[in-house]
Structures are given as C-alpha cells and as structure tokens.
C-alpha cells in the first residue's frame, strides 16, 4: 500500500488561492440603489418608532440612522463592492466613519444653501448629491478596499499511500501539542488503510507542527500542511478541503483536534454519508448533547443556531458545530474561494452554501465535550463575526438570485410600464370620462384604484361592516386589505399601498412561476410561460388595487415549496392564498396530489408537515368564516354579500350564466362576451398545458378556478378569476414553440395589454 518509506517523504510547496480583486463595473449604480434603499429603511424605522413606538423624535431618528447604516453596510459589502473577504470589524468601523463624514458634508452643504435662501427640500436634495461622491469614494477606496493577492504558498508533507484516499480527516491545529498525538492515534484506530489524516497547522508556537512532522515519519497515512501564520479556522479548513480535492478524497471529514469531537463517532459519520452529501454531527437532534460546555456557551450556541436557521431558512439543527463529513462532489459544487468567514461563521456559511447547492443533508447525534487540554479559541470577535455573517449570507444569496432573475425583472418592468403608462395617459387625457378623474398631481394612477379597489380600500380603512341585503364588504377577503393597512401605517395612502403590494407581488409571482414551470417544462418553455404571464392582456389587474397578484404569488410559491418538500413554507403560502381570495383554497388540490405521490418518501416529521400543508388552506378559510360569524353573525357573509350583486351559487348557476350571456346585448352587458371569450380561452390553454405534461392536479385546480364561478350564475369577472390559474400560462408557453408564433403572441399580447389598461373605466374587470 505504501509507495515509499516514510523517511524519504519531503515537504512540497503548494499554491493556494487567496483574495480576488474586487469587481469595478456598476459599483456606482449599485451604491446609488443601496443608498435609496437605506433612505427608505431610515424613513420606515423612524416612522415605526416615532409613530407607533412613541419614542421622542431624536431617539427615533438615531435608531433609524443606525439601522440604515447597518443595512447599507451589509448591502455594500456583499453586493456593491463584493468585499466579503475582509474583516467585519475593520470594514464596519471604516464604513461608519465614512457615513458620518458623508453626514457632515450633507449638513454643511444644507446649512450653506439654507443660509443662501434655498428651499428646504431642494437644498437637502443638493446636499445629498454633494455628499454621495464622498461616501462612495470613501467606501470604495477605504472601507471596502480589497487586496490583489491571488495565491499563497504553503508547505505540505503529503501522505505516502498508493492512489487517492477514500477518506481525508482534516484537523486544523494551533497550539494543540498535548492533544495531537492521542487524536491521531484515536483516528488511526477507527479509519481504514486508505484513509488519511491531514493536520493543518497555523505555525503553532508550541511546536504542534514539528510534532505532526515527526508523527508523519512513522505514519504514511498522516499528511501535514504548514501555513505561514494564524489566519483563522475557516481558512485552515478551506486549505484542507482544497488539498483533499487535489488528492482525490471521496469523503472529507472536518473535526476539532481538542477531543470536543469524539473520534469514535467518525465511523457513524462515514456510514451516514452513504445516503447524504453532507453529514452533520449534531448536538441538537435527539440523542445528541453538549454536556461539556458551560451554560453560557450552550445558550450562545443555541441562540446562534436558532438565529441562523431563522434568517437563512435552513433546517439543519446544529449550524455552529464543526464535526461534519462532506462528499467530494458537493465540495466541488460550491465556490470555496467565495467562502469569506474565517471563524465560527465558517460553519454556518459552508452549510448554507452546500444547502444552496442542493446537498442532501443528514444529521446524526453526537456528544460534544469540552476540550481535554489547552485553551478554547472562542472569543467575542468570533461571535460577532458569526452574527454578522448570517444576514450577509442572506443578502448575498438574494443578490445572486436577483442577478439570476434579471431577465424576469426586465419583462415585469416592461409589462408594468405598459399598464401604468396607459393608465396615466388616459387620466391626463381625461378619457373616456373626463369628470371621473382626479387631477394627476392629486392622485396619479387613480384609474388603478377603481372598481373593487375602492372596496378593498374601505375594508383596509374601516374593517368589515355588514349591512344585510346591501352591497357589502365581506365579499372582499381580508389579507390584502390587512397588508394595505400595514403599509398605510408606514405613511403610504391605502391606494398607493395596494398598488405597491400588487406590483411587487406580481414580480414575486413571476419568479415563483418560472421556478415551478421549470419542474414541468423545458427551460425555453418555462421562460415563455413567464413572458406570457407578464404580458397577458387581462394582466392589467395585476397592477390594480386587486388581490390577484398576491394570490398568484401565494399559489405559485405554495406549489414551488411543495415540489421542493418545504412543507411548512407551503402551508404558510396556502393559508395566505385562502385568505386572499376564496379561490386560493384550490391550491389544496395539487398539494394533496403531491403528498399522495410522495407519501412513501416522507419521513415522520415531514409527513406531519406535509399533512399540515394539505390542511392549511381549508383551516385558514374556516378560521375566516369563524371570524365572520363572531363579527357579523353570518359565517357565510362573504358569499351572501354577493347577493347584492345578483350572484348566488346554485346548481342551476351555469344555466343562469348562459341565459344572461344570451341576453347580454339586450341587458346592456356586452362585456360579458369578453368574459365568456376569456373563459373559453382559459379552458383551451389548460388543455394545452395538460398536453405539455403539466400535472393533472394543477389542470384540475385551474379548471375549478375558471369554471366554478359560473355556478354563481354569471360570466362576470371570469376573465379576472382565471388569471390565477397558473397552467394557463404554461399552456401558452407550450403553444408558442415556433419562433414566429412566439413573436406574434408577444407583440399581440403587449398591444392588447396596453389597450385593455387604457379602457379599464369602460367595463369592470
């Protein structure tokens, strides 16, 4: 097995990557975007603390400034300048100084301009412009400066075994002389003949490195990496991982050298790696413990895990433990050079990156003990770094996602520009009813708050007030007006809040629709699906004070979470869908189908969560009925309220709907033809989607969304109801496989969307 006597082995130089140079292009634009975001955050926090918290204005302003600075710091570090490899402490201090300098310039210019007689708002605008170059240059050249070092040479004493190792155990050391030899011996006792132990020593002052070299002389399976100085646990692991990949190890185990991780647990870790890409030795799953830790460390660790789990959306229970086994393919999938944390945040970051890369993660219980010899390396600076790393990782992931979905944002922006532009144009022209519009300066985009938007604003403002037998507001489901009310609390008008909600939700819906449709269709068809959803002729409703965009987002997210097995998130989305519109409850159909399909794969905990996802929408609906019953004495108030509009659900509803359609022209309801045409179009698209292999459960849900409202005796608004039937867009995406047809549909849809937006006032949606 050994190729050469150990005594003939010699240290070899190894070049390892270090800091990469920072990207330059687009910095200024990103800086401006972050600045605008920080401004919004500042105002929002101030408003919440001052208006609702009752804080004095100076205290609220100070807190708002602090939150805004932290917000800007995190965004600028991870997105604007991408300087995530530097130390948080240094960068944060420098950024704070630069921010204060910027504030000083701002106040100075403001003072000068006001003395010169400039109006307050205009003077502040100029002052902000004057301060921006100062903060930008300060941030770029000082706060987030990056070094150009790209490689560093370390010396490695390689193992003396034949061929690539099966397992490599990476042991970072710094002043671990007392623990090293017993640890290596204990590992040799549990590892196989083709397994390697790699000691990564950071130039320990107590001679740990030399001891490792001496041990290696008699142990061909022991490798030693000498690094020039102490540069953090994370860097040591990364260098160890890179070397393991170079050697060709199949599994890479990381653990501490101080016996806080028991070497006897390594075989269990390796066994679990047969069915997982990442195995985490966990203190916080049943059977695991951290008895050796002092209570303060235990609390810190628990709180850190809970915090990281909540912010990063991870399901791993022990995120700060460092006893893990990585599969080679997984380490190759993640960007090791991009890992920025050097202390304990490294454990969180690697697990997060690996989860993002689609790792199958298993947790096995371990007992964590306090170190046998030597001193703990834990410090306040390491804890702070770990604390700051978590939101930074979330922001970085968000930034990466934004870059990945940039094309969706472009289609969203284009389609919304058509709708908003058309609405604004007819308001300026006063067409078709000049007297209806308020002035543009008073209420721009008033058109988009018309029709049901008025009702949602009423519910947001005053809640439900049922007057039996009359047009009443219980027909308008509560979650959307509740969200409008929340935004109103931040200073937006109800209509503006509703518009912001609807348009942002539509962007979220498009992204979720894209990800969901990719699971059914090929990439090109999925992209077309999103484009047609954005340009759909009746899609102007997605930009009105209507809940259709939030429902579409909730339904698409619910479906996506279900497909990805994130049942708790799916349950939340389903409950939201049911509280946004009654049709949202139909999301239960595809969820049930998916749960039945995967019932054998679901483990105990997941089975309970999946059942919750199935029940969430109906339970949310029942809770709302219960609320109505308590409030107005009628659990079906939402349905009875529609009587005033001449709609009620009955078996002969479809006959009544057909009769009404037949006499539409006589009744002066010509727009019913539009709704009936859209209804037929939706059914055709659903059939196309079925042909494109969209799951039958989604087709059924879509069919219910489109056809069930007809049982209330009218085609009225069916064009709008069908908008949330996701497979309709998939059917269109499938249909337009030929390029000429695709182009024709895009141009035609865009024109129809613009025209429909301009004529909102003629016929209700």
């Amino acid at each position: 097995m050994t190729t050469a006597p150990a005594s003939t082995r010699a240290h070899q130089p190894l070049c390892l990557p270090r800091r990469a140079s920072a990207p330059v292009g687009g910095c200024a634009v990103r800086f401006a975007v972050v600045g605008a975001l920080g401004y919004g955050v500042n105002l929002a926090v101030f408003d919440v603390l001052y208006r609702f918290g009752g804080l004095p204005s100076a205290a609220a302003a100070s807190a708002a400034f602090a939150v805004a600075v932290v917000n800007n710091y995190l965004w600028n570090r991870s997105w604007t300048f991408r300087a995530t490899r530097g130390s948080h402490v240094g960068q944060a201090c420098r950024f704070l100084i630069v921010s204060l300098a910027g504030l000083g310039v701002d106040l100075l210019v403001l003072h000068v301009l006001e003395r010169a007689g400039a109006p307050g708002t205009g003077a502040q605008a100029v002052a902000v412009l004057a301060a921006t170059p100062v903060t930008f240059l300060g941030s770029k050249l000082w706060s987030f400066r990056t070094e150009d070092v790209t490689t560093e040479t370390v010396h490695v004493l390689p193992p003396a075994i034949d061929g690539p190792p099966r397992v490599l155990v990476c042991l970072p050391t710094y002043d671990e002389r007392e623990n090293l030899e017993p640890m290596v011996q204990a590992l040799r006792g549990v590892l196989g003949p083709r397994d390697v132990v790699l000691v990564v020593d950071d130039a320990s002052a107590d001679g740990t490195g030399e001891l490792a070299d001496r041990l290696a002389l008699s142990d061909p399976n022991l490798a030693v990496m000498h690094r020039p100085g102490k540069s953090g646990l994370g860097r040591a692991y990364l260098d160890g991982f890179r070397y393991a990949l170079e050697l060709g190890a199949e599994l890479v185990v990381q653990m501490d050298c101080d016996f806080s991780h028991d070497p006897a647990d390594v075989p269990r870790l390796l066994a679990a790696a047969r069915d997982a890409d990442l195995v985490v030795g966990s203190r916080y799953v049943p059977g695991g413990s951290a008895d050796g830790l002092p209570t303060s460390r235990k609390l810190l660790s628990r709180a850190g895990c809970a915090y990281a789990r909540a912010v990063l959306g991870l399901r791993v229970r022990d995120l700060t433990g460092g006893f893990k086994c990585h599969r080679r393919e997984l380490l190759e999938r993640i960007d090791l050079d991009g890992v920025s944390s050097s202390g304990y945040g490294f454990q969180i970051e690697t697990t997060f990156r690996e989860s993002q890369a689609g790792a199958r993660v298993a947790e096995i219980p371990i007992t964590f003990r306090e170190r046998l010899e030597g001193e703990s390396k834990m410090s306040a600076a390491i804890a702070v770094e770990a604390f700051l790393t978590v939101p930074e990782l979330r922001l970085a992931a968000l930034g990466a996602a934004l870059a990945r979905y940039a094309w969706i944002v472009r289609w969203w922006a284009l389609s919304r520009a058509l709708v908003l532009g058309a609405a604004l144009t007819v308001q300026v022209l006063g067409w078709p009813r000049a007297g209806w519009y308020p002035t543009v300066s008073e209420r721009p985009l008033a058109l988009l708050g018309a029709w049901d938007g008025r009702w949602y604003s009423i519910v947001a403002r005053q809640g439900y007030l049922v007057v039996h037998g009359r047009q009443s507001d219980t027909a308008f489901f509560p979650l959307y007006p509740i969200a409008m009310r929340a935004l109103h609390g931040l200073g937006l008008s109800y209509v503006t809040g509703g518009l912001v909600l609807a348009n942002v939700a539509f962007l979220v819906a498009l992204v979720a629709l894209y990800e969901l449709s990719r699971t059914w269709l090929d990439e090109q068809a999925a992209r077309r699906t999103v484009v047609y959803a954005a340009l759909f002729p009746f899609g102007f409703v997605f930009s009105m004070v209507y809940p259709e965009a939030p429902v579409l987002a909730a339904v698409a997210l619910g479906g996506l979470f279900a497909v990805r097995g994130r049942w708790t998130a799916c349950a939340v989305a389903a409950a939201c869908a049911a509280l946004l519109r009654p049709e949202g409850v139909f999301l239960v159909v595809p969820i049930v189908a998916l749960v039945v399909q995967r019932r054998r794969e679901l483990a105990g905990g997941d089975r309970g969560r999946a059942l919750t996802a199935v029940l969430a929408a109906p339970i949310a609906l029942v809770a709302m009925l219960f609320y109505d019953w308590r409030l107005v004495g009628d659990p079906l108030a939402f349905s009875h309220a529609q009587l005033a509009w001449g709609r009620w659900t009955s078996f002969d509803g479809i006959v009544r709907a057909s009769t009404e359609l037949y006499s539409a022209a006589v009744l002066g309801r010509e727009w019913l033809y539009r709704d009936a045409a859209f209804c037929a179009f939706y059914v055709a698209c659903l059939l196309l989607a079925y042909r494109a292999r969209v799951p039958l459960s989604w087709i059924v849900a879509g069919g219910l969304l489109v056809l069930l409202p007809l049982w209330s005796g009218s085609f009225t608004s069916d064009a709008r109801f069908g908008l949330v039937a996701l497979p309709v867009y998939c059917g269109l995406g499938y249909l337009a496989r030929r390029r000429w047809l695709d182009h024709l549909l895009r141009v035609g849809s865009a024109a129809a969307l613009t025209l429909a937006s301009a004529t909102i006032l003629l016929h209700w949606p």
């Binding site: 809640g463 439900y464 007057v467 009359r470 919750t612 219960f626 609320y627």
Partner: protein
Amino acid sequence: MRPLARALVAGAAVFAAVLVVLQVGLARPTAAERIAARAVSILDHTRERGSVIEIGTRRVTSTCTVTRTGAARIQLDDGTVIVAKGTRVLETYRLGERRTLALHAAADLPAAELVLSGSHALYARELVDRLAQRAVSPRPVEYRGRPAYALRLRSRPPAVELILDRRTLRPLAAEYRSADLRATSRLIAARRREHGC
C-alpha cells in the same frame, strides 16, 4: 398516528394564527356603527303604514304605499300626494286636480312631509350614506317613556333625526329641522299584509 397528531396541532396553530391576524389586522366597527347597520336591516325588512305629522300647529296624517315602480306614494289627509324615489321627489299634486305642483329645490314643506311620512327606503338610503362616511352616533333618548335612540340622518341642514326603539331598533318617530321649519311625526307601523312603505 404521530404525523396526524402533529398535523392537527399545527392546524390548530394555523387557525389561531389566522384569528390573531384578523383580529389585530382589521379595524372593527364601533358599537354605534353596528347599531346603525342593524337599523338599516330592520328598515329593509319592515314598513310604515304612515305617520301623524305635526308641523307647527298643523297636524296631518299621511298614508304611505309603494308603487309598482318602487317609488313611495305619500298621501296626506289634506289631499296632497307626493311621489318620491329614495330622496328624490318625482311629482307632487292635489287629489282630483291632476295638476303637478311646482317644485322648488329648496321647498321646505314637501321635503318635510316626505321625510316625516315614514318611507323606510329614504331612511335606509340616508343611513347607508352616513355609514359609508363613518358618521353615525346614536344618542340614547326617551320617547314617550320608552328607551330609544336618536339617529341623525343628515350632516347638513335640514337636520333629520330618526327615533328608534332601543330594543327592537324599529323606527318610532322622525324629526325635521330647518332654518324656517320644525316638524315631527309619529310613525305608524304597518301590520302584516298591510300596505306600507
């Protein structure tokens, strides 16, 4: 069983969470608004046969019916007939004369007679408008020894107030006040199968 039990517990949590969101997130109508909403419902489901109107020293009895077109036809015992839909007077004439009397926008007398004759459609319409403006405030009063609410139906002059039985919320009386005129009426409820408006 354990997954089912977990799901049921989580379902109960969803139920509770939704109730909390609705309770905290939605504004709730005031007691006054709830009374007014119930009063509209009562007005929609009951009718008045007419009323006894007192305008200064003059006392007239009115009879109120609903025409086939849904308008209220009010006939006073002095022979005056007023036809109105909601708050809009369509025509007014004297019995036997078949001559439409001149209508003035600010005609106080026919307006008072219309308002005091007991048309529930008129009262309900005014009350719904007040509710939409969130401007209802029933005032506890006593009417002929009975506990009652006085509910103001208009914010601008002429002031119109409806007196409702505090227990049943049935209208008992109405009051009309303008700069030149002050009038009251006692409403006469229609019995079952009786005509009324």
